[in-house]
């Protein structure tokens, strides 16, 4: 074994009051440690992590010129940083400290002193064996690009961007559809105050568009992400709009004159049609149409060109190409939002077969003055005003089977109360019944809101999930059971509204993969800590805003958007980041250049280059791996993929781990 210098190791054994001392014979541990080769100092103390304890470590390092420290104490997850700090203060490299975990792994579980002491000694020996092979490591620095990217231009993305921009940093919003606004722009009114959604959202959209620090890329998608916290390189694909944004005045003539008008209108949940050249809604930002090339006659047949002819500004440009914008960002916020689930597996609700069975989001559009019925409540089958309506809760939510989602969609109880109330208010002669399993209304003024629906607006709430909805004599027959009265319900109604489960936008999986952000089985992005780090992804520099992280309503989304923004601002306010030095390192003399390590690296931290290598006097150009220490997170996957042992992990090197193995099996 090669030892470059004579190691001088100090061992510090903590009593942790009686936590350790009660079941570990501290004196014997000290004696055993002192006998180990390389150990020049061994002492114990009541509470090693206390200031006085740390002082002992610092003094010993200076007096005995220690080159390495072993602290036998609680879990390294608890106090490793404490003792590293102490070492650093005494002039020793902080990575020359190892912890033997003799509390969580020994004294707390082994009640027999003999056993406990023996195990503590072995763990101490293993830590000593490891620290003998430790090398001083230097934490590196990496630059922070003072610009943030927000993926998704709904209320979550807009709010995050506004907050970041107000703090003085540049922000770019990338939105897939032709306008920002997201789901909220499709809503009619919002609970519990019944404000008109557009009235509160539109000013925010305008603010974002007008903000000098915010750049909005609509009809654009993130195409490629590389880099790491502080400096992500992102390629954004600006899809060809076929309309020159700088020339268009937003007059809307092109949309009126377009002959291809039979295209399902996504914004109105495909309840009516739009033209091939269109802006999704009147308040769209930017107020510039796009040509849907798949449905445009000009693009399909080469003939037509009406929009171009009628455009006085000459803004229509059929030759426009997709454009790639490459930009560097210090932080990225994911705000990709949600959609409702598909209901094709719920045959019993007849959603596919009866036009009068609709989802809640469709009802929002029907209720909206700009919607397919101009705000009149009517049946889509015959245009007649309904006399009776049934709302069904938890459609696809709280499902244990593969038809739906296991979680509660959280927002449905409240919006259903809202819908019921609005309908009873506007159309008092319409009878409204809500079938529920539980009414869940935690939130300020939420339960009061629901009670108002029942008490003031006379909405019937029936506990019991509906079993079946079927067309019957031009009306809908709803079969259910009232679980409280314990009686069968068989009622005819005119419209049925399904509170459909929400799910993360399906594109989020692709985005998460690009960002190496983790995602759960329901496609919600995972937060770094469910309680303490709820807006951070475990991947450094990636933050979460809105429903992409979990179901939530508008106030919660806005709150989370602000929280994500402050985390971003906190990051961008730094000029440099300190990087973890326990990263992989490749020895060029051993590297075969085979790329196995590169293939298993989850961070794209390994690259290959042709470099001249001096292998004991033989100079030749070889293809060798190099690790970007700012990107590497230190998992070690590459070290095992490497057959020659060229790739090793600093702080957890092959030889260090083998030394621990040997010490344990001695």
């Amino acid at each position: 074994m090669e030892v470059n210098q004579v190691q001088r190791i100090g061992v510090f054994v903590c009593h942790c009051g009686t936590n350790i001392a009660a079941t570990v014979d501290i004196k014997r541990v000290l004696e055993a440690a002192a006998k180990e080769p390389g150990v020049v100092h061994a002492e114990d103390y009541q509470y090693m992590c206390s200031e006085a304890g740390q002082q002992k470590v610092r003094e010993a390092i200076k007096e005995k010129q220690l080159t390495g420290v072993v602290v036998c104490s609680c879990s390294p997850r608890m106090h490793e940083n404490t003792f590293r700090g102490a070492a650093q203060k005494a002039g020793l490299n902080p990575y020359m400290v190892e912890i033997a975990n003799i509390r969580e792994h020994v004294s707390w579980i082994h009640k027999n002193i003999e056993e406990g002491t023996e195990k503590a000694i072995i763990l101490t020996r293993a830590a000593i064996a490891k620290v003998m092979l430790n090398a001083p490591l230097q934490a590196g620095q990496s630059k922070v690009v003072k610009r943030a990217l927000v993926i998704g231009g709904g209320i979550a993305g807009i709010q995050t961007a506004l907050d970041i921009a107000d703090a003085g940093y540049e922000v770019d919003i990338v939105e897939k559809t032709p306008s920002i606004g997201g789901r909220m722009s499709q809503l009619d009114k919002t609970f519990p105050t019944l404000d008109c959604s557009a009235c509160i959202l539109t000013p925010k959209m305008v603010d974002a568009a007008a903000h000098e620090k915010i750049t909005i890329y609509t009809y654009s998608e993130v195409e490629k992400v590389s880099g790491f916290v502080g400096d992500f390189q992102v390629d954004i694909r600006k899809k060809a709009r076929s309309v020159d944004m700088s020339k268009c005045t937003g007059c809307g003539v092109c949309q009126e004159k377009c002959p291809s008008k039979k295209i399902p209108n996504e914004f109105n949940r495909e309840l009516d049609n739009r033209a091939a050249i269109y802006t999704p809604f009147a308040q769209a930002i930017p107020n510039v149409p796009v040509i849907d090339r798949e449905n445009c006659i000009k693009f399909k047949t080469g003939k037509c060109g009406v929009c171009s002819k009628v455009c006085l500004a000459g803004a229509v440009d059929y030759e426009q190409q997709d454009e790639i914008v490459s930009q560097n960002y210090g932080a990225i916020v994911v705000a990709t939002g949600f959609d409702t689930i598909k209901l094709d597996k719920y045959e019993e609700y007849s959603y596919q077969s009866c036009p009068d069975v609709i989802t809640s989001l469709e009802l929002e559009r029907i209720m909206n003055a700009a919607g397919p019925t101009k705000g009149h409540l009517e049946r889509l089958s015959d245009g007649k005003a309904p006399k009776s309506m049934v709302f069904i809760q938890c459609v696809g939510s709280r499902c244990a089977d593969e038809r739906g989602k296991s979680y509660c969609s959280k927002i449905c109880c409240m919006y259903t109360a809202k819908h019921a109330m609005l309908i009873r208010d506007k159309y008092p002669d319409v009878d409204v019944t809500v079938f529920y399993i539980d009414v869940r209304t935690p939130g300020k003024n939420f339960d009061e809101f629901y009670r108002r629906a029942v008490e003031e607006y006379g909405v019937h709430y029936i506990k019991g999930q509906v079993g079946k909805v079927a067309e019957h004599n031009g009306r809908l027959l709803v079969q259910g059971a009232d679980l409280i009265d314990n009686r069968r319900i068989l009622m005819e109604t005119d419209m049925v509204v399904l509170a459909t489960a929400i799910e993360p936008n399906p594109d989020v999986r692709k985005i998460a993969t690009m960002l190496t952000a983790s995602i759960d089985t329901n496609n919600f992005l995972t937060e770094s800590h469910a309680k303490l780090r709820p807006v951070e992804s475990p991947t450094a520099g990636i933050f979460l805003s809105g429903v992409c992280q979990g179901p939530k309503d508008i106030p919660e989304t806005v709150a989370q958007a602000g929280a994500a923004a402050i985390k971003v601002v906190g990051l961008l306010a730094k000029d440099y980041l300190v990087t973890n030095p326990c990263v992989a390192k490749s020895d060029e003399l051993y590297c075969n250049g085979c790329s196995a390590c590169e293939k298993v690296c989850p961070y794209g931290a390994i690259s290959y280059e042709d470099r001249e290598v001096n292998d004991h006097g033989i100079r030749e150009v070889r293809r060798v791996a190099s690790v970007n220490s700012a990107l590497c997170q230190g998992c070690g996957a590459c070290t095992v993929a490497c057959p020659s042992g060229a790739m090793d992990l600093q702080g957890f090197s092959n030889r260090q781990i083998l030394a621990e193995v040997d010490a344990i099996c001695r």
């Binding site: 709280r398 244990a400 019991g464 079993g467 059971a481 314990n486 069968r488």
Partner: protein
């Protein structure tokens, strides 16, 4: 051997293979049931009766013999609880307790007629014999 209510409830869980603890009490089983009005104890109640270990009431319920085993409740249950399987298990229990077969294979030929669907026979066996 004397069984307590608790033993019987455990037995019912085993016989039916239904996990009653998954039930979220939404009542969709009852809402889907075509025989609901004929029943004294409703499908969703079967689940909670087993949870509450009130098996005696189930054994005496006339619902047992009203269930068509159409499995609509099993099909639609969002929690995969399988109420029909519980009802089936209670029926089994009743039959076993009574000790005798209501339908013996030897009696079948006499009952056969050409119109009779095979499925009915199988179902009758399931219902009326051990």
């Amino acid at each position: 051997m004397h069984k307590t209510e608790k033993d019987k409830a455990i037995l019912l869980r085993e016989m039916s293979g239904a996990n009653v603890d998954k039930c979220m009490k939404c009542g969709k089983c009852s809402a889907s049931c075509p025989s609901y009005d004929e029943m004294d104890i409703r499908p969703h109640q079967f689940v909670s009766y087993v949870q509450n270990e009130d098996v005696e009431a189930l054994l005496e319920s006339k619902s047992l013999w009203k269930c068509l085993s159409c499995f609509a409740c099993v099909e639609r249950c969002p929690r995969d609880v399988k109420p029909a399987m519980i009802i089936e298990a209670v029926r089994q229990m009743v039959v076993r307790q009574r000790g005798g077969n209501y339908l013996l294979p030897d009696e079948v030929p006499e009952l056969l007629d050409e119109e009779l669907p095979q499925q009915l026979l199988a179902s009758a066996f399931r219902k009326y014999s051990k």
